[in-house]
């Protein structure tokens, strides 16, 4: 348990004159300024202002160093919101207790890797209730903000502050998006002692990682279902949050705490007209590659090609043709027919339908009169739709990528994937959405893929990368 001023000793000089010469540690817009004739191993001399400057993330290290050196100093850094009383009603499952324990033993820093729906949230809530200190919870989306606020209210019995999505109040427990936490690091950086990074893999991006650097919070917890990133940047996370301290795979939990699931893939043929459009557009694309001798094997190759489209008009034309071809395959009318059959076969079950393009979301929504959720859905309506789906008032939702991460949509038993980008994370998260333990119910995931198109390859790539997570 940490109380203000207990762990962080403040040496305040009684003599006013003496205090002028005392070292002062001050928070300066996401960094710490050390006034006085002293340096630290973490600081760097800033000739612009004439004193030492330290990254905010080294706050505790600097305090420890000053303490050890027996240098009198005045700590003017923290600007913490008042503490509130928490009443925790969190009950952890054995593996959650183990995860929390490992994290505590790692010095209250580190990353917990658990599959979606395994209750990562509860580990964090329990950590908050034990630390009883000012906490910032950082999440990727506004949906997740709402969800965390509800969870904190339900399980810790306290009001949360919120920064992002038009809100801007700081309380003992505050929820924020990565975007807002990044943009407001200058003013929020010294207001919390504990940070929970939900979906922590986001933190490794070049801009978001500055959140970790510009906040003083000594205690940090990262949560994710997919620690590894395609770009390998996750190797940066231990320095920012701490090492991965606990990892559980989907397989370890499936059947025990999560429902097992079946996987099925249905191939559909494009309609003759769609096939004609597809072939014509793909030819434009392939011809360009052939002519230029370009081979697209890796993600990197593809990035290079995308870059070329900025300089070369023909490259851009080729790219647009490829996109049209893919769109034709992904949004094939034949898929809609198959979907109609599946919907008929799964009447009265709770269904989630995923697509890549918003166009298709709205086509499906119009055709089957199913509630749609995209980034364009008004926030209030989205909240209402998710709430009614949770309470089973609505039995189906069609959505593009917005629900990809972490948003709790409980009790869905069937998922239909109508298109995808081929990324591992997306696939796992989409599966995760369905893995809800309903008594005796086996979850099912059906992917509808157009035959003999590039899409087959994308889908295979997806499967390959996450083979071990599936039992289908």
């Amino acid at each position: 348990m940490v109380k203000n001023g207990e762990k962080f000793k403040v040496y305040a000089g009684k003599d006013k004159e003496a205090s002028l010469f005392m070292i002062r540690l001050r928070f300066a817009r996401g960094t710490l300024l050390l006034r006085g004739e002293v340096g630290t191993p973490y600081g760097k001399w800033d000739p612009r202002v004439g004193c030492y400057r330290v990254k905010a993330m080294h706050y505790q290290d600097v305090l420890a160093y000053l303490g050890e050196s027996r240098v009198p100093y005045r700590d003017e850094v923290p600007n913490l919101p008042p503490l509130q009383t928490l009443k925790s009603s969190v009950k952890l499952r054995p593996y959650q207790i183990e995860g929390l324990d490992k994290w505590r033993r790692a010095g209250m820093r580190g990353i917990v890797v658990l599959p979606t729906a395994a209750g990562k949230t509860f580990i964090a809530l329990q950590a908050i209730s034990q630390l009883k200190t000012q906490t910032l919870i950082i999440v990727p989306t506004l949906d997740l903000m709402d969800q965390w606020k509800r969870q904190v209210a339900d399980h810790l019995n306290v009001d949360t502050g919120a920064v992002g999505g038009g809100e801007n109040t700081v309380k003992m427990i505050t929820v924020s998006t990565y975007d807002s936490a990044y943009l407001k690091a200058e003013v929020l950086g010294n207001r919390f002692m504990f940070i929970v990074f939900d979906e922590v893999h986001h933190l490794a991006s070049p801009s978001y990682m500055q959140i970790a650097e510009m906040y003083i919070a000594p205690y940090r917890m990262g949560l994710t279902a997919t620690y590894e990133r395609g770009d390998e940047r996750h190797v940066l996370l231990p320095r920012l949050v701490g090492d991965p301290v606990y990892t559980v795979d989907v397989e370890e939990l499936a059947g025990e705490h999560l429902s097992p699931y079946d996987y099925e893939k249905i191939y559909v043929e494009l309609t003759p007209e769609e096939q004609r459009v597809y072939d014509k557009e793909m030819k434009v694309f392939r011809n360009y590659l052939k002519e230029k001798g370009i081979v697209l094997k890796s993600v990197k190759d593809f990035h290079r090609f995308i870059m070329a489209t900025g300089r070369d008009r023909r490259a851009r034309k080729a790219l647009l043709a490829r996109n049209r071809a893919l769109k034709t395959a992904l949004n094939s009318g034949a898929k809609l027919k198959t979907l109609a059959k599946l919907l008929e076969a799964h009447r009265n079950e709770k269904i989630l339908i995923f697509t890549l393009h918003n166009d298709l979301v709205y086509r499906i929504s119009r055709l089957f009169l199913i509630p749609s959720v995209t980034y364009q859905t008004p926030r209030e309506e989205r909240r209402e739709i998710l709430e009614k789906f949770r309470s089973s008032e609505y039995k189906a939702i069609v959505t593009s990528q917005v629900l990809d991460e972490g948003v709790d949509v409980p009790d869905a038993t069937v998922g239909f994937v109508l298109s995808g980008t081929g990324s591992t994370r997306e696939y796992i998260q989409r599966l995760g959405r369905l893995l809800r333990k309903v008594k005796g119910k086996k979850a099912k995931l059906v992917e509808i893929v157009s035959k003999e198109t590039v899409e087959v390859r994308i889908s295979q790539r997806r499967r390959q990368k996450s083979k071990k997570n599936s039992k289908g």
Binding site: R29, T31, K44, E186, R316, L343, R347, L369, I370, Y394
Partner: protein, 526 residues
């Protein structure tokens, strides 16, 4: 500012520059086409308008240019949801009915649900379909569009392009001809850090607190926001380091007023506006004095270490320059810090402090030679300022006067104007006057503005005497004519030197008369 995917730049050998749209030919044509299209599409759906924009892209114009213009025009447009029923409520009703009747998997089932809701809401089925997603962005209707001249659009585009590029900047350096207070105020407000330096002029380097640790684009947005304040000046140069994220390469970017002012939208230069009435009234009263001091508002910043001080005013006179800052509300601590900052600079600074605005009890503050705290109440006293200025100018004056005095010079001309003479030897007219008054050259009379040979003066005196003796008075204009004819300009001083007096009748010099004081006396005696 534009979405980053519309950033249209060229890069070569570490140099990066935006593909600015020249205000001519094809560009004006595209701009015009788009502006007309927006005007024409008022009342139509956004996706119809955007389809037209897409067609322009297909016609061979770069999509980044066309879309960039379109983004800017969107900001001058008002898109509205144009249906009678609220789509959100309509959808709710529909979903609820669907839950009741079951998901429609055939067209018949679907029609049944639509009809059921339509009759409940007293709508037609067509209206239902039309309204269902009328609140989607692409379905919104263009209700109003504010057109603008194509040149303006292109200038706006070029500015937006520059700012979008600056999003990726890690630091910015600039020099400018003025507007300093606004620029530095903006720098502070945006939480940036500056360093002033000299490099063929006064330059400022700007980045942010965390820039110390690594190159970061974090402050790019703030730097982009600062740009308008800089380029609203008549003259400026801006250089920036751009961290190109795709290659992780640092590129140089540079724009200059002489080259780019004409193609960039520049905010109107604010005319010299005064922060406070105190400043304005001071400037007016001081100007009215018509002293030899040239008063400048917001002079070039004064470097103080790596920081700068932007004084409110400067007083300039030959080599002497004095700055003045007018302090608003203050505390002793504030003044002490200010003085601390001023210690680093070696200039004459006058700080005007309003006693009535003190936030705490006045404490005695240290006095320094180059620094003068001037306490006042309500109105800044001109006399004490002038006295201070004259005091500072005194050494200059004395030095010059002694220089003139020791000048081995013999005057030959009958009339020597101080100003001309002073300019020839590079001193002030005043020091010439001082020197000559102290040590008049033989055979000359020292007048306030010129040196006149005694013979010459006597000559003028005789001519005047002739005229006056007839009527015992002479109209001033006539006297002036006589004097000027002899090559002397300051009529009144010559008259005074000759013992004449000017009788004013009102302020009109035409009506004034020159008289001999003796005659007045005579009249009084008689």
């Amino acid at each position: 500012m534009l979405p980053s995917e519309l950033l249209f730049v060229r890069r070569r050998k570490g140099i990066i520059w935006p593909r600015y749209a020249k205000l001519s030919g094809e560009n004006l044509e595209v701009a015009n086409l788009l502006i007309e299209a927006y005007s024409r599409h008022v009342g139509e759906k956004k996706n119809v308008l955007k389809k037209f924009v897409g067609e322009l892209e297909d016609m061979g114009y770069d999509y980044r240019f066309v879309r960039g213009l379109s983004v800017l025009l969107d900001r001058r447009s008002d898109f509205k949801c144009n249906v009678k029923v609220n789509p959100v409520e309509l959808r709710r009703k529909l979903y609820q009915t669907t839950e009741k009747l079951g998901l429609p998997t055939t067209p018949e089932q679907r029609t049944r649900i639509i009809k059921s809701v339509a009759s409940e809401l007293k709508l037609t089925a067509e209206m239902m379909e039309e309204s269902l997603y009328a609140d989607l962005d692409s379905e919104l209707v263009l209700a109003e569009f504010k057109p603008l001249p194509p040149q303006e659009l292109l200038k706006n585009y070029n500015l937006s392009l520059t700012q979008t590029l600056l999003f990726s900047s890690t630091e910015l350096n600039f020099t400018a001809s003025g507007n300093w207070q606004r620029i530095f105020y903006t720098i502070k407000r945006l939480g940036l850090i500056y360093e002033a330096y000299r490099s063929g002029g006064f330059w400022v380097k700007i980045d942010g607190p965390a820039s110390l640790f690594k190159l970061t684009r974090r402050y790019g947005t703030a730097l982009a926001k600062l740009l308008p304040a800089i380029i609203s000046n008549p003259k400026w140069t801006v250089e920036a380091k751009i961290l190109w994220k795709y290659t992780n390469e640092i590129c140089d970017f540079k724009i200059e007023s002489w080259k780019h002012s004409s193609i960039l939208k520049t905010p109107k230069t604010p005319t010299v506006s005064y922060d406070s009435i105190v400043e304005e009234s001071f400037a007016m009263r001081f100007q009215a004095l018509r002293s030899d001091w040239c008063l400048r508002r917001e002079p070039e910043p004064v470097p103080a270490g790596k920081h700068v001080i932007i004084p409110d005013f400067s007083f300039e006179r030959q080599s002497v320059r004095v700055y003045m800052e007018i302090v608003g509300f203050w505390t002793a601590e504030y003044l002490r810090r200010k003085i601390e900052k001023l210690k680093k600079i070696d200039v004459n600074m006058l700080i005007a402090v309003d006693e009535t605005l003190a936030c705490e009890k006045l404490e005695k503050l240290e006095k320094r030679a180059k620094l003068n705290l001037l306490y006042y109440r309500k109105k800044i006293p001109l006399t004490s300022i002038l006295r201070y200025l004259e005091e500072l100018f005194q050494p200059v004056k004395e030095k010059q006067a002694s220089f003139v005095k020791n000048l081995p010079v013999t005057f030959l001309e009958p009339i020597v104007k101080y100003e001309e003479f002073a300019a020839r030897i590079g001193v002030s007219a005043e020091s010439v006057r001082t020197a000559l008054t102290e040590k008049p050259p033989e055979g000359y009379v020292v007048l306030p503005n010129s040196l006149v040979k005694k013979d010459k003066l006597r000559e003028i005196g005789k001519t005047l005497e002739k005229q006056i003796s007839q009527t015992s008075r002479l109209p001033l204009p006539q006297a002036a004519k006589i004097i000027e004819k002899e090559g002397v300009e300051d009529t009144s001083n010559v008259l005074k030197a000759l013992g004449y007096k000017i009788m004013w009748r009102g302020i009109n010099p035409e009506k004034a008369e020159v008289i001999k004081p003796e005659s007045k006396q005579t009249r009084k005696n008689s």
